[in-house]
Amino acid sequence: MIGRDQSSQALSQILESRSSDRGNLISLLQETQEKLGYIPREAMETIADFLGIPPVEVWGVATFYNQFRLTPLGKHHTVVCIGTACHLAGGNLILEALERELDIKAGETSADGNFSLERVACIGCCMLAPVALIGDRIYPRMTPFKAEEAIIPYRQSNDGNTAN
């Protein structure tokens, strides 16, 4: 996880090159998330100050869109597609298997910061349904058992407690 000083430094770098036009709010949040991996509360307050709007308005936008997350991701971000084709092929069973194995619910990050789990609506490879992603790697035609097996190597690579 990034320290508070680092994150405020990264944020001021982003704001330096931008105008304080209200219309920039979403792209500012996008850049912040790209740099920091998520949008910390302090970043929302800084952005609100910068644009001259109440922090609650930034909060309102940040919580409206699916793209934004307010908590840091795990080292191995795991995504299960619950698009139509994946759902019909049993995507929910894959999600349940991963929730059970990682002991977290969709939208959460494991206590050791090693895994986070997310459900998304369609990543656009319906012919490979049901699909899961760990990091950038796509796992096609999943079954509950294959999902269990897929996360094993990522467990082993867990070199200790990454969340401070």
Binding site: S27, L29, N66, Q67, T84, I123, T143, F145
Partner: protein
């Protein structure tokens, strides 16, 4: 440089390429998901090993998604051969055999592009191509989307050049005669939007391309942007000229990084050649295009909600009028069209209205692009004339239903559309016929379902999606859909009563009436169509607690058939995550229903030669002694 000079240069580069051996690899997001990047890397290594200077071109979607990654080796003086499902392991063989040598490895080929080869199929003569008509996808999978010269060499930007010599009124007149209707789903006549924007007196005006494709099962717009981005950009420039705008935006989902990258490259290349920017091709007309990355909200597909998102606000729709043509982005006149709508424009201008209007039906001209997925043999993309029947699309183009299963329904248009039954397979696909059947063209996502899919569960799935994506502005959309979802959950878990179906119908009408935008007004469609065409399934769930498709968890049990269980095998015992399966070596395995979480792992791992695990519904059909354990729990 004049356009003629630009075109000459592009053509000579293109002809040069066609005159030598080159390799095409499908590298849209779908091809990449199937592993095309590994294949591209392997090709690079092998070509270097043989010291071969052969261009490897990363093209967009080749339509045959089931065959990805797809590699085509093209030779000027010999066969062009396509290889399906290529892996890095067979790449050395292909390079050695057909790039370095003369053996086309036909035993590995999907087919050739030439006639008369006995050993391999002729791809242009595949049955599906008989029924397809490529208007908007003509270049997809054939040109390098990151090379503007490929676009120009295949007549790209010729429509723009012609348009700049026409009056805006003539351009819009051509669109009117072509009969082009918006490809975003609702089917509003395109020329009318353009005309309203042209007539608006306020300046500046804006052009927006809606690439916020949010239907969870549709990706035509992504494919067009990833495979042929210039066609969309050219359509937008023509729109800017016709309505008198100087600035355009492509509003594209942030979830489509490759599409964003390719549009960005296309914009840079077009600007470099003077096709975008100040004084385009010396016409005095100036136009720029920027990319706006959407942050992910299904409701943003609605025009006023999209504008709110572009202004940095929560993506909530507003009442209309005023239409966007009067007060859109920043309160200025704005033209908003879908990706494909813009893509149809350049050839209409270049070849005339007849190019579009000569195909399709009376009310729906031209073609429709669909993504075909679900339980269909050849999933992928298809472009067919409007009016093509569902049967033709699913059986002749899609190759029919996978396995030995029976067709049950086809879902069209995602969360806004409906599930249509077998009795409607012969109805034509066009805006008006689909609406009559209770569905809509929508995004163009088409999901085929068989007997193993539960229609009540499908309706619940879409409702669940709509409740998550409702922006919350209208009470009926926010709470009404939630109530509908609760009822559907009751039905799928066996807690509902028959009269709940009437409440569902009543709520569906209320949600339609009480919602401002398309999301709420169409959210009940999946429920209404399944109730209309598959009422017996609802009744079976409610009355008999039976899910015939054995999908709804609360209505099924897993059971190991004692006479099929191989006593020596322990796959299920060892993999069951809750240790719910009893029976040591040499014994028949039995599921402890008390501990079973219905995760499906035992069914998954039971070797096919035994195939001993089955799902039963209703729960009460479980043979004893398991039955006793089950009732003890209740």
């Amino acid at each position: 440089m004049s356009f003629a000079a630009i075109k000459d240069r592009a053509r000579s580069e293109w002809e040069n390429l066609q005159g030598r051996t080159h390799i095409l690899v499908s590298a849209a997001t779908c091809g990449r998901a199937a592993g095309s990047q590994d294949v591209i890397d392997a090709l690079g290594r092998e070509l270097a090993r043989h010291s071969l200077d052969v261009p490897v071109i990363q093209v967009g979607c080749m339509e045959l998604c089931y065959a990805d990654p797809l590699v085509i080796i093209r030779k000027a003086d010999s066969l062009s051969v396509a290889y399906a499902n290529v892996t890095p392991e067979i790449v050395p063989r292909l390079v050695e055999g057909y790039v370095a040598g003369e053996d086309p490895c036909l035993e590995l080929a999907l087919g050739t592009y030439e006639d008369g080869e006995d050993e391999a199929a002729c791809i242009p003569e595949l049955p599906r191509y008989e029924h397809e008509l490529r208007l908007v996808l003509t270049r997809c999978g054939r040109v390098d989307p990151e090379n503007i010269d490929h676009y120009i060499a295949t007549d790209g930007y010729s429509g723009l050049e012609k348009a700049l010599g026409m009056s805006p009124g003539d351009i819009i007149g051509e669109l009117e005669r072509s009969g082009l209707r918006g490809r975003g789903g609702a089917g509003f006549p395109t020329f009318r939007k353009w005309e309203q924007c042209r007539k608006a007196e306020v300046k500046p005006k804006y052009v927006i391309c809606n690439a916020d494709e949010g239907d969870p099962g549709a990706f035509m717009d992504r494919v067009v942007l990833e495979s042929d981005p210039h066609q969309v950009i050219e359509g937008m420039i023509i729109a800017g000229y016709a309505i008198g705008a100087e600035r355009g935006y492509v509003y594209v989902r942030a979830e489509y990084p490759l599409a964003i990258k390719r549009v960005r490259i296309a914009l840079e290349q077009a600007t470099e050649l003077g096709l975008l920017g100040d004084d385009i091709l010396g016409s005095g007309f100036s136009f720029t295009i920027e990319i706006a990355a959407g942050a992910g909200a299904f409701v943003s597909g609605e025009s006023t909600a999209l504008v709110a998102a572009m202004e940095g606000r929560r993506s909530e729709p507003r009442t209309r009028p005023p239409r966007l043509a009067e007060a859109g982005l920043w309160g200025k006149p704005t033209l908003l069209n879908n990706v494909k709508t813009f893509a149809y424009v350049p050839p209409i201008i270049e070849h005339g209205a007849n190019w579009l209007s000569s195909s399709g039906t009376e009310g729906s001209k031209g073609t429709a692009v669909f993504t075909l997925a679900g339980k269909v043999v050849s999933s992928g993309l298809a472009e067919v004339p409007m009016g093509t029947t569902l049967r033709r699309l699913i059986y002749d183009i899609g190759g029919g239903i996978t396995g030995d299963r029976q067709f049950k329904a086809v879902q069209i248009g995602g969360p806004s559309g409906g599930c249509l039954p077998g009795s409607l397979l012969d109805s034509p696909i066009d805006y008006d016929s689909l609406r009559e059947a209770g569905s809509m063209m929508g995004s163009g996502g088409m999901i085929v379902m068989d007997e193993d899919n539960c229609m009540v569960d499908a309706a619940r799935y879409f409702l669940d999606f709509s409740t998550r994506e409702s922006c919350g502005k209208c009470t009926m959309c926010r709470l009404g859909t939630m109530q509908m979802l609760r009822i559907l959950e009751d039905i799928t878990s066996g807690r509902a009563k028959l009269k709940d179906m009437d409440r569902l119908l009543q709520l569906a009408e209320d949600v339609k009436d009480g919602s401002l935008c398309g999301l709420g007004r169409t959210a009940p469609n999946p429920v209404l169509t399944t109730l209309r065409y598959f009422r017996d399934e609802y009744e079976a769930h409610i009355r008999d607690k039976t899910c015939a498709a054995r999908v709804c968890k609360d209505l099924i049990v897993y059971y190991i058939l004692p006479d099929r269980c191989d006593r020596a095998c322990e796959h299920c015992v060892l993999t069951c995550p809750t240790e719910a399966i009893k029976g040591g070596k040499g014994e028949v395995k039995v599921i402890d229903q008390e501990k079973c979480t219905k995760c499906g792992t035992c069914l998954d791992v039971c070797p096919p030669e035994y195939d001993a695990v089955v799902k039963l519904s209703p729960v009460s059909s479980l043979p004893s002694p398991d039955k006793t354990e089950r009732s003890a729990k209740k």
